[in-house]
Symmetry: C2
Subunit: 224 residues, 2 copies
């Protein structure tokens, strides 16, 4: 398995884990999402204003549906056809598209153009995100926003060398059978660099806190 | 003492600690500076290019002198006349000016204009830095850089609520007699906000690591 490139393992995991993931999200099984990060990304998108939202790596579609209910015009796309099938079965007026990030980067307009907001909610998992971020610049209107919610850099505080690198998610805290998924950790500096290289500039950061511990549970990058 | 506003306590500490501070810096007594942060800020300034550098809160002047030796045209200013006296006694071709941050914010041109780089090396210590940062925007040329080296957000990882607030420096690891100094901790998001409000945009972050632990010893914000 270790000879399979990490990006291919990510793709495969989202096919194999589609059912367990859908049950975990819809059952609100993940504490950090329940107590902080779901509301934080919703608030951040709605604070941007504008009507048209692109949900990048939408998974089973919960965020798209919530934004649809809040009156936004939403398109969601994801590289896992199995998750898009779950999303389409979830109801609401959202258009869901099965499209992987490489295909999007080659032809961004395939998901439509002139978005007010593009949002990546824990969906930038690979090492090479430049093509995707540049594609999102093409399909958002001038002055449009990019929001990226991701793992907070505190993840590596006090534990290991603080630098970009591959990590592994084993879903140990969740019920069901799971395939482990590699994901690529980035430092603050690395996120700022990736955004800048793709033509975005960081306008703000939100760092939602766990209500009990007071420690950040995620980082939300707001770019223009 | 606690009824004295923190900003006034900061000002007072840099008068009372001027001698001990000068000995500590010139004796290279602070490990984090010796192993990482001194070289990191030098490298960051020199990477910007340009000739004219403003050293903001220059203290006893070590950074100004090093940049002068590297061929830069340097002006340093500091709110502590006692430290400026030490700086002037340190040799080199740097012009050192005794000027506090409020006076600078009221009349930024008092230190000259058209700087290529303004650098604040662990010298933004108060809660209200907006006037200073806006003043620096006025005295740097279009396309000029602002560099801020400060405490890394990891300072509050795992220990306390992660939010802006006053901390106290007691200089416990250093020899000599010291007056404690309040200083204001900022989250990553707070720094991005302060820069934006003052007309700067974050272009990059450097996060120098301790060579032994691999953990960040500071955050360097690079703004345009």
């Amino acid at each position: 398995l270790s000879e399979v490139p990490p990006d291919d393992r990510i793709t495969r995991s989202w096919l194999e884990n589609a059912g367990a993931w859908t049950r975990a999200v819809r059952g609100r099984a993940m504490e950090s999402r329940r107590v902080a990060t779901d509301q934080a990304i919703l608030d951040a998108v709605l604070a941007c204003g504008g009507e048209r939202v692109l949900d990048v790596g939408c998974g089973e579609g919960w965020l798209s549906r919530r934004l649809d209910q809040a009156g936004r015009d939403v398109v969601g796309f994801d590289g896992s056809p199995a998750l898009i099938e779950e999303a389409r079965g979830g109801g609401g007026g959202v258009r869901f598209i099965a499209l992987d990030y490489d295909a999007f980067a080659s032809d961004p307009g395939a998901v439509g153009v002139d978005y007010d907001v593009a949002v990546c909610n824990f969906s930038l998992l690979g090492e090479h995100v430049g093509g995707l971020l540049a594609g999102l610049r093409c399909v958002t209107r001038p002055g449009g926003h990019l929001l990226v919610q991701t793992v907070h850099p505190f993840f590596l505080a006090g534990t290991a060398r603080y630098e970009d690198g591959w990590q592994e998610e084993n879903y140990e805290s969740l019920p069901g059978e799971w395939s482990p998924m590699p994901w690529y950790f980035r430092t603050f500096g690395s996120w700022v660099r990736e955004l800048g290289l793709a033509g975005w500039r960081l306008d703000a950061c939100r760092e939602p806190l766990h209500p009990a511990t007071g420690q950040p549970v995620s980082l939300i990058l707001v770019a223009l």
